[in-house]
Amino acid sequence: MKVAVCVKQAVDETELKVGPSGTPLIAGAATKVSTFDKNAVEEALRLKAAAGGEVVIFTVGPADARKAMKEALAMGADRGVHVVADTERFDPMLVAQLLAKAIQKSGPYDVVLCSEGSSDTYSGQVPPMLAECLSHPYAGYARKIELAGAASKVERALEDKVEVVECPLPFVASVVSEINEPRYPTLIQIMQASKKPVEELSPQALGVLTEKTLVRVESMSAQAMNRKRVLIEGTPEEGASKLIEALAKEGVIPG
């Protein structure tokens, strides 16, 4: 069982600062492996534990994206493939093409896992685009994966329903965070992660032109959070009656 997992080095949204003109300072912001990608890595490790095989991490990003790769390797993946491309923000279709070519080059893989969306821009487009590029069956928003060759099943968590789809191998799936609880790597695993093999590929070597993008960013502005931020003091009883009074004044609770 060979499982490919796609991870993204994302801007750490909790650390994102705003510049004097109200522009978020994306360039140079702290980064981390995208939160939900850990669920995809965890699921791959579980599939490997059940069926044996190999878990390979794929990422597209600047040289610095090695950090996200290392975090995923520390969780227990075997090796990595890093498509080194130096762009601040990627076009989803471009990322999907680069991932698809890299996966085809190092494959074949039985399962390709992604998360439902990245914790920074959360556009969720790469997984279905990747399935299109690879011409694989696809199951988005997976909350359970049962491997059984051509009769493999995926449970999809949608807004108001749960759908079970039959996805013959090889397939692509995006997972939701409820699928599992990602493990924390041990100190030894973190140290060993640096020694795991990571193959570096260039977009040129994969035959993908990085200049051709379909979607562009026009502007970014920090969202103003206009809340009153009134802290109510006193004993629980005093606090409670003051809050009820304030809410009644706002007209948001029945008078």
């Binding site: 279905p128 968590a157 789809v165 039959e166 996805c167 948001v252």
Partner: protein, 311 residues
Amino acid sequence: MSQEVWAFSESDSVANETLTAAEEIANAISGTAVALLLQADDPGRASGGKRLVIKTSGPAPDSPELAAEAISRAARQGNPSVILVGGTKNGREVGARLSAKLTRGCLSDVAKLTSDGKTLVGERGEYAGKVQTKVAADFPCIATVRVGSYPPASGKEGETSEMQVGEVQAKAKTLSVNKKPAATVDLKAAKIIVSAGRGVKKKEDLAIIESLARALGGTLGCSRPLSSDLGWLPEDYHIGLTGLNVKPDLYLAVGISGQLQHVAGIKDSKVVAAINIDKEAPIFQAADYGIVGDLYQVVPALEKALASRHR
């Protein structure tokens, strides 16, 4: 010939919102809004003056995979300037697949769409709601429209045309569809939401939060750990980036620290109040009113204070 703006959603209610967005764009570019229907869809849906029924042979195009294949074939024939897809989970898959199939840019999960007749611009919340980003794609292009960002279309009568696109086949087969139990909550429509977080020590203690919700005539919700990690409440109680976006009159966060992912789901609330034992909890930055205190004391006190008002 005037430029066409197509609107599609697999969901009846979202289809009508998506059509409103299409009508606005069509007005801005002096084009025509066209409501798309796949053969199995409800013909009772609103129409933007024009309606196009895409007919396929083979299995009914009721999955995002088949819908995207059918719509992409129709788009190659009809060449619309813009295809709008309602931004449900399945809709976002349809949009991304169309983008790949047609090599057209897709703006994902956007609101406030505008156009000058050559380019489509939309706004989306990013970085857990910290940033509002304007994204653009040149015509012809695609966008998935954020659910709830447009009112439903009024439902004008219009001419209906048909297009046959041939046989579509699926690589993944839907085996079963289970509606989530309808008896649970409708947080999207709730006027008052009382939401519980990690500050609640055990599952049984949710009873006191639920009791306060009831006293306020509100609905219980929760942050991600309670539904996804602890499993104390079903997923449809989960408010936040990967759960529900809610817009009640009052959102009362109880024992919720206020991680960005959670705050992203409550931004549109009219008034936010919070109870947390930690004075430094980020939820107080995202709240209109805050009480620093032990929820196990404050919640019963709130219920008491409410009861004495009504006496």
